[in-house]
């Protein structure tokens, strides 16, 4: 019977090609617009590390100005840590894993005379960074704890840097000149792009992973520049790089891994105690207020999803609504036009349920075709987004399998919803009224 309904649906499609095409177009446009914006929002708000996002926490402590909160927001806390606090907390080793981290950059001077020096971005971190974030390695592995404490000049390369400096071969143990110093390569990571780049959203949450990784402790030795955001409420005590590092300026991110709620509670206790002890040293003039944010809380707090993207999504939903209202109207027109056929079917013994099924199948077919066409339009829309926003959205504008399913489901559900009323009306035609001539 289902096949019969499908056949009828296509016959009906052919009988009113323009009306049918209008409906398919309306659904396709609505789906295309919504799916384009949903995809962008979905990717912007994606969980970058789903298997352990609830065990990773970004730390916030309030070291800010006694007279003014960090910003106007009620429970605002500084969004980064001072170098001092981040290193202290990392060295305390009270979490399963922990790492202070920040972004920097330096010039790499390749050893062969043909290649030109180039500038590379650096993620300064502790060895736990790699285990904590499950960074995949191509060759070698992270440096060890000793390298952190002894400030050894070791480096982990990104796959691309390894390709441009060492031609992609296993470069473990090789020498590389960075910032005028000799470094030893201990590891090369495989392709690792987290989206969003949750561990440091200051430099754009959708930027690429850094090209080099090196021990955080080298920041001080090499006086590496700060490539991220630096925010001060009072100026450093004294001149020079060391004074800058030890100031109340915030420029460091701090992540810890806490496997369960108990560990989380314990860590917050530890954190509060740490701040209390710092208060005794005359720091942390504001009321005690510390916070642990898991990955998704942090993404929410830092408003990783662009407001424009959200706004466009809501507008596109309204757009879809208009398209559906349109479809309801057209379906109503189509089914009313078929009332004599329906009257006949009822007269020859079809039940209301039969007529209902027949027309819901017809509507679903229109929805499905519209949904598939809408997917095509989504691709066009995403291509448009790419060309409008430039390279940085490349990874934000691609359609994955789950989005395709979502698109088809939305198309089906919304078209069937749109078809309910017209179908109901069609079923309630009295068989007799339609058989007489007008």
């Amino acid at each position: 019977m289902f096949n019969y309904y499908i056949k009828l649906a296509f016959k009906s499609f052919k009988r009113n090609p323009i009306l049918s095409l209008l409906m398919v177009t309306a659904i396709a446009l609505g789906i295309g617009a919504s799916m384009t914006t949903i995809t962008v929002n979905y990717l912007m708000s994606a969980n970058p590390i789903p298997h352990k996002s609830e065990q990773l926490f970004h730390i916030q402590v309030d070291n800010w100005d006694p007279n003014n909160p960090f910003n106007d927001d009620e429970d605002a806390l500084p969004n980064q840590l001072t170098w001092t606090d981040a290193t202290n907390l990392t060295h305390a080793k009270k979490a399963l894993r922990q790492s202070a981290m920040s972004m920097s950059g330096a010039i790499i001077e390749p050893q062969d005379s043909e290649s030109k020096p180039f500038e590379a971005s650096i993620r300064l971190a502790y060895t736990d960074f790699f285990a904590m974030f499950d960074v995949p390695f191509l060759y070698g592995g992270p440096w060890d704890n000793n390298s952190d404490s002894n400030r050894e000049q070791v480096v982990v390369l990104s796959k691309r840097t390894n390709e441009s400096v060492f031609g992609g071969e296993n470069s473990i143990g090789k020498n590389i000149v960075i910032a005028g110093r000799h470094f030893q390569v201990v590891g090369v990571i495989d392709t690792w792009e987290v989206m969003p780049k949750f561990y440091d959203v200051n430099n754009g949450p959708f930027n690429e992973t850094e090209e080099l990784f090196m021990p955080f402790s080298l920041k001080e030795d090499l006086e590496l520049p700060n490539w991220g955001n630096n925010n001060c409420w009072k100026s450093p005590d004294g001149e020079g790089y060391a004074a800058f590092l030890r100031s109340e300026c915030i420029n460091t991110q701090m992540w810890v891994e806490l496997p369960n709620a108990q560990a989380e509670a314990d860590y917050l206790d530890f954190l509060n105690n740490y701040v209390r002890s710092q208060k005794e040293l005359g720091r942390f003039p504001r009321p005690l207020h510390n916070r642990l944010n898991d990955v998704m809380e942090w993404m929410e707090r830092r408003e990783v999803v662009e407001e424009d993207a959200k706004m466009m999504m809501w507008l596109s939903f309204m757009f879809l609504l208009v398209c559906l209202l349109n479809t309801i109207g057209l379906l109503l027109a189509k089914f009313t036009g078929k009332s004599s056929e329906i009257g006949l079917r009822l007269a020859v013994g079809a039940s209301k349920a039969d007529v209902f099924k027949q027309h819901i199948v017809e509507t679903a077919c229109i929805g499905l075709v519209g949904g598939i066409a809408g997917l095509g339009l989504t691709l066009v829309g995403l291509q448009g987004i790419k060309s409008l926003y430039g390279d940085f959205v490349d990874d934000l504008a691609s359609l994955d399998a789950s989005m395709i399913v979502v698109a088809l489901v939305i198309a089906l559900v919304s078209s069937i919803a749109a078809g309910l009323y017209p179908t109901w009306r069609a079923c309630n035609i009295s068989p007799a009224s339609q058989l007489k001539s007008q």
């Binding site: 910032a179 001149e239 757009f319 109503l332 409008l388």
Partner: protein
């Protein structure tokens, strides 16, 4: 026979049309809702577009068309920053076609830079006014193409050298008129010259000059015209040069300058060379994209709604063929039939745009609360209503014309 009144006074059939519409509510409601939501989206979109456009049209203060900048990063132990900067600037300023060149820590509209707070009274307890900081030498005013409207420029002897991690500030500054007015709202900007302001809560700086207009690096900052100039060169590993050229010389000079700087010293690399035009294009890319997307949405939406009206109206004409034939037989002219459908659509549209006006305001309030948009100007609403009315009338004209062409003889056909 009674004398008939002139045909021109044929009444609009308001009553019968309304009563007939009420018997077919659903179709009318669907169209009215479509019109209402379409109007809501269109009016709010147009408003967003206009606002974004206004932002983009604001004067940056600098010579957008003829300025560019680049960064020179030194490496190796023998790289002497102050000497290199001095040599570079002398070389750049001597180049034919260059109006002026400076070293600066940040570039207007580039979205990255320094900010500080200035106070009119010394002490942590007083409120500060946020400002962008451009560190420039005495050529700054000329290179940035700004005008000193009160006070005077920095003298060469005012220029100090800032080192990495330096905390204190020079004792002179030049600020924008907007900054002067934000700091001292009660006095004329010209009288701000000679006043002392405090940076880092307590370090005094004397305002020696006021410039007309200069934008901060951050285009979306609400105080984008709060800017101060600090008389400094910087001895950072990366030096940013900002160069203003004679009209039309920019592109030639960009190539020339990059090559000259790269060849003059093999212990550095040149990166990030970009014209201000391109920088502004990048900084406003979100705006441009939003404008284009909203425009596309508006056009498609209008087409969808119009097609919906055409579809339903055509259907309703088809349904009413017999009735139209009868009306023609009873004396309706073609004009009367067209007018009937146009007027019917006008009534439906009227309900739609009235509802649309309410929804528009509601959506605007939501956007204001959720996304910090400004309140909609009232006149957008009547314009939106008028436009949607016209769209409805245009869309229904085709089907109405078709209806008018239905022959009166249809009335005697037994179908």
């Amino acid at each position: 026979m009674k004398q008939s009144q002139p045909q021109t006074s044929t009444s609009w059939e308001l009553g019968p049309i309304l009563r007939a519409m009420l018997r077919n509510k659903v179709g009318a409601i669907l169209i009215a809702l479509q019109i209402a939501i379409t109007m809501t989206i269109i009016v709010n979109s147009v408003y967003i577009i206009v606002e974004r456009n206004k932002d983009m049209q604001r004067d940056s203060g600098i010579d957008n068309e003829n300025s560019f900048y680049l960064t020179s990063v030194g490496f190796g132990d023998n790289f002497n920053v102050p000497n290199t900067v001095e040599e570079d600037l002398n070389m750049l300023r001597a180049l034919p076609g260059v109006v002026d060149a400076i070293q600066t820590n940040a570039v207007p509209n580039s979205n990255s830079g320094w900010s500080m707070g200035l106070k009119t009274q010394s002490g942590v307890e007083h409120d500060a006014v946020g400002t962008a900081v451009y560190m420039v030498d005495d050529h700054g005013v000329n290179a940035l193409d700004v005008e000193i409207i009160a006070g005077e420029n920095f003298a060469p002897s005012d220029i100090s050298l800032r080192i990495v991690g330096q905390v204190d500030w020079p004792n002179k500054t030049i600020i924008t008129k907007a900054m002067a007015e934000n700091l001292f709202p009660d006095i004329n900007y010209a009288d701000v010259v000679g006043k002392t302001v405090y940076i880092n809560d307590i370090d005094p700086m004397v305002v020696v000059g006021i410039i007309d207009k200069l934008q901060a690096p951050w285009v979306n900052w609400s105080n984008v015209e709060n800017v101060m100039l600090s008389p400094e060169r910087q001895s950072f590993k990366g030096s940013r040069y900002f160069i203003r050229t004679e009209p039309g010389m920019r592109d030639t000079l960009m190539n020339q300058v990059e090559e000259l700087l790269a060849n003059s010293n093999n212990q550095r690399l040149i990166k990030g060379m970009r014209s201000i035009e391109e920088t502004r294009e990048r900084s406003y890319r979100g705006h441009t994209a939003m404008i284009k997307i909203l425009t596309t949405v508006m056009v498609i939406l209008t087409i969808v709604t119009a097609l919906g009206i055409v579809g339903l109206a055509s259907f309703s004409v088809n349904q009413r063929k017999k009735q139209i034939g009868t009306r023609r037989a009873l004396g309706a002219t073609q004009g009367t039939i067209i007018r009937y459908f146009m007027f019917e659509n006008f009534l439906i549209s009227s309900i739609g745009v009235l509802l649309g006006a309410i929804l528009t305001v509601i959506l605007n309030v939501i956007l204001v609360n959720a996304f910090g948009l400004d309140r909609l100007d009232w006149f957008y609403i009547p314009i939106g209503m008028l436009v949607l009315w016209l769209v409805g009338q245009a869309a229904v004209f085709g089907p109405a014309k078709k209806a008018a062409n239905i022959p009166p003889a249809l009335a005697t056909r037994t179908v």
